[in-house]
Symmetry: C2
Subunit: 246 residues, 2 copies
C-alpha cells in the first residue's frame, strides 16, 4: 500500500517545506496504535468467511512450497503463527472498515483486484502465502513466481519481487501495528530468481516509533544458501474507520 502524503496532510500531518520529503511531526495521533496485534489479526484474518482465500495450495505449487506450507500450518496449531488469508481485494480484508474518510476513495469499482492476485490462472502469476506471528511481529511469505512475472527471460522481474515484498510488508505492518501506507521502500537485488522457484521472505518489524513502522526483509532460498534480495521500508500508522451501519 502507498502513503498519501497530500491527504495525510489533511489528517493533521504536514510537509516541512513544499516539495521536501514528507516530514511527520510528533503528533499525538489517537488513531495510531489503538489496537493490539491479536485484535487486528482476529478482525483482518477471519477464520470463517465467505470470501475466497487464494493462499491455499493448488496443483501448481512445487513440492518444496507445499512441504514448507505444511510445516507452517503445523506451527499455526502450537507456535503462535497465523496464516493470513488472501482475498481478491483489500475491500474484503477490511470488511466493515474503511480508509479514513479524509482519504477519499475515488471509486467503488467492484472489479478491483489486489495487484498480487491479478493473474487468475493457477501457477502463471503470483503463488504465495503469508504467515504472521503476532507476538514476535514477524512474517514469512512463501512465494513462487510464475512465468507471467518474467523480467529477463526465464527469471522473475525485479518489479514482481518488489511488489511481493511490498505486499508482505503491508500486511505485516498492518497486523503488527496498523501500518497502512508505505512511506518508502528500498530493495537491493543480489541474485536472479528462476521462474517457478520457491522464495522465502523473512520479514521483521524492527521498531515502531512516531507513528512509523520500520520493517525489513530478506528473500532467499529455503536452505538460505542464496539470497535473492534484501529490503527495508517505512510504513505510516493510521487507523481504519468503522463503516457506518447501513
Amino acid at each position: 500500500m502507498i502513503r498519501r502524503c497530500f491527504q495525510v496532510a489533511r489528517l493533521g500531518l504536514h510537509r516541512a517545506l513544499p516539495g521536501a520529503p514528507c516530514v511527520l511531526p510528533r503528533l499525538n495521533l489517537t488513531s495510531a496504535s489503538g489496537s493490539s496485534a491479536d485484535s487486528l489479526v482476529s478482525r483482518f484474518c477471519p477464520e470463517k468467511t465467505d470470501f475466497q482465500d487464494y493462499a491455499l495450495p493448488n496443483a501448481s505449487w512445487s513440492p518444496d512450497m507445499l512441504s514448507l506450507y505444511q510445516d507452517f500450518m503445523e506451527k499455526t496449531k502450537a507456535s503462535g503463527w497465523v496464516k493470513v488469508p488472501s482475498f481478491k481485494s483489500n475491500r474484503e480484508h477490511i470488511h466493515g472498515l474503511k480508509l479514513p474518510s479524509s482519504l477519499a476513495v475515488p471509486s467503488d469499482k467492484s472489479n478491483g483486484r489486489l495487484f498480487t492476485r491479478c493473474i487468475q490462472v493457477e501457477g502463471q502469476g503470483y503463488e504465495y502465502v503469508i504467515f504472521f506471528h503476532p507476538a514476535k511481529k514477524k512474517s514469512v511469505c512463501l512465494f513462487q513466481p510464475g512465468p507471467y512475472l518474467e523480467g529477463p527471460p526465464g527469471f522473475a522481474h525485479g518489479g514482481s519481487l518488489a511488489a511481493m515484498v511490498d505486499e508482505t510488508f503491508a500486511k505485516t505492518a498492518y497486523l503488527a501495528g496498523e501500518g497502512l501506507f508505505t512511506f518508502s521502500l528500498n530493495i537491493r537485488f543480489k541474485n536472479l530468481i528462476p521462474v517457478g522457484s520457491l522464495v522465502v521472505l523473512n520479514v521483521d518489524v524492527e521498531k515502531i516509533e512516531d507513528q512509523k513502522i520500520y520493517i525489513s526483509c530478506i528473500a532467499q532460498t529455503r536452505d538460505q544458501e542464496t539470497v535473492y534480495a534484501k529490503s527495508s521500508a517505512v510504513f505510516l500508522q493510521l487507523q481504519l474507520e468503522e463503516e457506518s451501519p447501513q
Copy 2:
C-alpha cells in the same frame, strides 16, 4: 530487471566480503559501454517487426493519456524521441541476442510474459508506453493503472508503481548504456494514485560510472501539480551476447 550478483561474480566481478553488498571493482570490462545509444535503439526498438507491440492506444486509454501519447508521437518525428515498442517478453526485445552465457537461463518456456504485460484484458492492468531520447538519455513513461493493480481500495498498489518504475528504468538503462540488471531500487511514495489516472514518469540517467548506471524518476500528474513518487536506482552494465547461428 534484476542483477544476479552470484552470477556476475562468475563474470569477473566479486563481493568484497561474504554477505556484504556486492562491490564492483574497477574492472576493464570490455563488454560494457560497447554500443552507442543509437545502435542500441535501432536493435532494441525495431521499426518493423512481426512481434505484437502492446504500447499502442486502445479503447481503455483516457483522453489525457491519448493526447499526451499523440504529443510524443509528434516529437518522434522531429525532436529525437523514440517510441519504445513493448513486446510480450524480453525474448522478443533481445531477439538474436541472449544474456551472457554465464547467466544460465533455467528454462526456455515460451509461455513467459513480461511482468508489466501480464494482464491481457485492455484497461484492467498495465497500460503504458515509454518514449526514450537517446541524446538526452531521458525517458518518459505514460502509465494508466487499471483496477487489477489495486492496493488500497480504489488506488494503485505501491508494488505496481514500483514495478512500472523498475521496468521503465530497465528499458532506459539498457538503451542509454547497456544497463542490464537492477542493483538497487529506492522509492519514496508521496500520494496515492487513483485507479484509472494518468501517471507521467520522467526518467533521467544521472551518470554512468564504473559499469554502473545511476537513474532517477519522478512520477506525477500531467500538470505536475501532484507528485506520486520519487525513485532512484542503480543498474549494472553488461553486454548481451550474439546468439550463435542455428
